[in-house]
């Protein structure tokens, strides 16, 4: 797999703070992927539907963010351990993760390339009267100019669908505040993930719609670590995640072979 020209990455100087307008020629958008998920908008929030694993995954990903940030929130109101934390969710889809973070009190900005999904999410947000959640129909590269940065940027189950993952990671990292956190979850490109995520889940058991994933686009742990090193982010934690299709429950796992979560922090002060 030759995913990307690494020399190109260097020439763009995508190190944090150095992304210029010109670098926007490197787009992360994959139109067919956006169209594919946009078409799923009708039953995005059906917990028993195609997205059931994404709903139950909140236990791990929201739980991880909660435990990571709760120490930094003093005297939070009951039930709002993330009170006041500024979080960006990149590739939020219909808002399953974004809403989960907002319900714990975080000030969440959630973006997605799909207009259909953003409208689903926004309709639901209005209906529920959630005030600490903002949905924007933009790409991560279009957000680079905004003034304030985020305590935490998360992008969950998105990396495996974007063009140029290295650029995507760079854009995400650029939106993290100094000493802030970057959390990514994705699928590893291994023989196991090929068997589990594609052959079994999509083709054999039909647990996921066919064509949900394109194995060639999966990102290995090593590639992701390299991408983060390019933008001077230090990897703090990597955890495997395992889904049980019979109970629709996720558990942390020692194996990084299929689904994994990676947590990184700005490393520039450390390097210098």
């Amino acid at each position: 797999m030759f995913r990307r020209p690494r020399s190109l990455l260097r020439s763009l100087e995508v190190a944090r703070g150095q992304i210029t307008r010109s670098s926007r020629s490197i787009g992360t958008l994959n139109d067919s992927e956006v169209a594919k998920f946009g078409a799923m908008n009708r039953d995005w929030w059906d917990q028993n539907g195609q997205n059931s694993p994404l709903h139950s995954l909140n236990k791990l990903r929201v739980g991880y963010v909660r435990d990571l940030l709760r120490k930094t929130v003093s005297n939070p109101p009951p039930g709002l351990p993330l009170f006041g934390k500024k979080i960006l969710d990149v590739g939020c889809g219909g808002g399953i993760l974004a809403e989960g973070l907002a319900q714990l009190g975080a000030e969440v900005t959630a973006i997605d390339a799909s207009e259909e999904l953003i409208s689903v999410a926004e309709e639901r947000r209005k209906r529920k009267g959630i005030e600490n959640l903002t949905y924007l129909d933009v790409l991560v590269e279009d957000l680079q100019e905004i003034e304030s940065r985020f305590d935490l940027v998360i992008s969950s189950e998105v990396l495996e669908h974007v063009e140029e993952p290295w650029a995507f990671v760079a854009y995400c990292s650029n939106l993290v505040k100094k000493d802030g956190d970057l959390v990514l979850t994705t699928i590893n490109r291994t023989i196991q993930s090929r068997i589990l995520a594609i052959e079994l889940a999509e083709r054999f058991a039909g647990l996921l719609p066919r064509g949900t994933h394109d194995w060639d686009k999966f990102v290995t742990v090593e590639e992701l670590i390299m991408d983060l090193r390019e933008v001077k982010f230090r990897v703090e934690d990597i955890k495997g995640m395992r889904w049980n299709p019979f109970t629709n429950e996720w558990q942390w796992s020692n194996s990084l072979d299929v689904n994994y979560l990676l947590h990184a922090k700005d490393d520039k002060s450390f390097m210098s």
Partner: protein, 428 residues
């Protein structure tokens, strides 16, 4: 829009409402507690209430956590010992609390707990509506594919329309919430009633012992101490017998109860077998006989009454945005004194799952959250209820081998403190 509406201000409704408001892990939900009846009040000292229940330590902790327990003051009566025996042979069991400060359970009046629950809910900021019946309850359709899961429960009270993200049926055996949600129930009618009254008794020492006697007819007489010399009687028996007991005058009733507490119905064959075989357990150092010295009833203090007995278990305890708790979901024979405690257990299980869902970034009123409660509660209750049913059948029979087995079994349990601990932890 309410976050949660608790229907029914009985034993569990107020406690559930207060607990949700007081939770450290839920974002101060807006909760309504409503009941078709008047606000429950603490009974005056003059009229003795006839319904008393046993509050086990787990339930007591829950009542303490919600602020309801302190409202009961000194009225809960601590029980440190339970004596169970039958009228055949020598099978008797005694369970004793290890420390006096940790009683096996407390006996408390039903309306007092309901009133305490409502007061605690009010303190916690729960909105209250009494004498208001829910009408036109609309529960979202679970098969509606197009939903973005934003359909909530709607209902009317006095012609006003309300909406809630979660509807909790704490409204008893004839639950209107269960019916509106179309939740099924497996039920079994024993054609039995529980006859109840409160009496004064002698021979009760400090009155910290509860007695329970199994009769071969299937009757179970429970004597629950509730004050220095007072006992609350729950006599479960055939419906016709309950009616008969209700028709008796005080003197006749007293002699009837006393008679049933001491009679010996052991068949001669079993007596003979016992006498000839008792050297075996004795030779290995087991206590073979337990002499039970039951209380003597002297005066009837309350009106008498009875209530129907049956057991029932809901096949489902949740529907979209809806859950049922307590008697709305399950009823058990009162001999184990567990009905209300199972209801409070539901309150704990449900609240735990709601908190866990919320902290996991899952809408706690959604199916993903409620189905976990359903699974946990059904699993626990089904296992417990089949155990109770078995125990009851065992005591009902008078076939010689079973009576012998029962007597041997109870003797062994009585001599084995580890086994007793298991029984006691299940019963309390």
């Amino acid at each position: 829009m309410f976050d949660t509406v608790c229907v029914g201000a009985g034993l569990i409704g107020g406690v559930q409402a207060a607990l949700l408001r007081r939770s450290r892990h839920l974002p101060r939900p807006k909760v309504l507690l409503t009941d078709g009846a008047r606000r429950p009040s603490f009974s005056s000292q003059l009229t003795k209430n006839i319904r008393q229940i046993a509050v086990n330590p787990g339930s007591r902790q829950l009542l303490q956590d919600t602020g309801a327990w302190e409202k009961l003051g000194n009225s809960p009566w601590a029980v440190n010992k339970i004596t169970v025996w039958d009228s055949m042979g020598h099978g008797g069991l005694e369970f004793e609390a290890k420390h006096e400060e940790n009683p096996i359970f407390h006996i408390t009046e039903v309306p007092a707990i309901s009133a305490a629950g409502v007061d605690a809910a009010e303190d916690a900021g729960v909105e209250l509506m009494f004498e208001s019946k829910l009408e036109n309850i609309k529960i979202p359709n679970r098969f509606n594919q197009a939903i973005q899961d934003t359909d909530y429960v709607s209902f009317k009270i006095n012609e006003s329309e309300f909406e809630t993200r979660l509807l909790l049926g704490c409204d008893g055996a004839n639950s209107s919430v269960r019916k509106a949600a179309g939740l099924g129930q497996l039920s079994k009618n024993y054609d039995q009633r529980g006859f109840v009254c409160t009496v004064r008794a002698e021979n009760v020492a400090d009155n910290r012992t509860a007695f329970q006697r199994f009769l071969p007819s299937g009757d179970v007489i429970a004597l629950l101490p509730c004050e220095e010399d007072q006992l609350s009687i729950v006599w479960s028996c055939a419906a016709s017998k309950a009616k008969m007991l209700e028709s008796l005058d005080a003197d006749e009733l007293i002699s009837k109860i006393n008679e049933y507490l001491v009679n010996d119905e052991t068949p001669t064959l079993i007596k003979t077998l016992h006498n000839s075989l008792s050297f075996i357990p004795k030779s290995i150092g087991l206590k073979t006989e337990m002499r039970v010295d039951p209380p003597i009833i002297t005066e009837v203090l309350s009106p008498t009454g009875s209530f129907p007995l049956g057991s029932a278990l809901a096949t489902n305890m949740v529907a979209p945005r809806t859950a049922i708790l307590g008697d709305a979901a399950h009823r058990v024979h009162p001999f184990a004194g567990q009905g209300a405690n199972m209801g409070w257990r539901d309150v704990e299980l449900l609240t735990d799952e709601l908190e866990r869902a919320h902290l996991s970034g899952i809408d706690y009123t959604s199916q993903l959250s409620l189905s976990k409660y359903e699974k946990a509660a059904l699993l626990e209750h089904a296992a417990f209820m089949s155990g109770l049913e078995g125990l009851k059948q065992l005591y009902k029979t008078n076939a010689t081998p079973f009576v012998l087995a029962r007597n041997v079994g109870t003797m062994l349990v009585n001599n084995n403190s580890a086994l007793k601990d298991i029984f006691i932890s299940r019963a309390s």
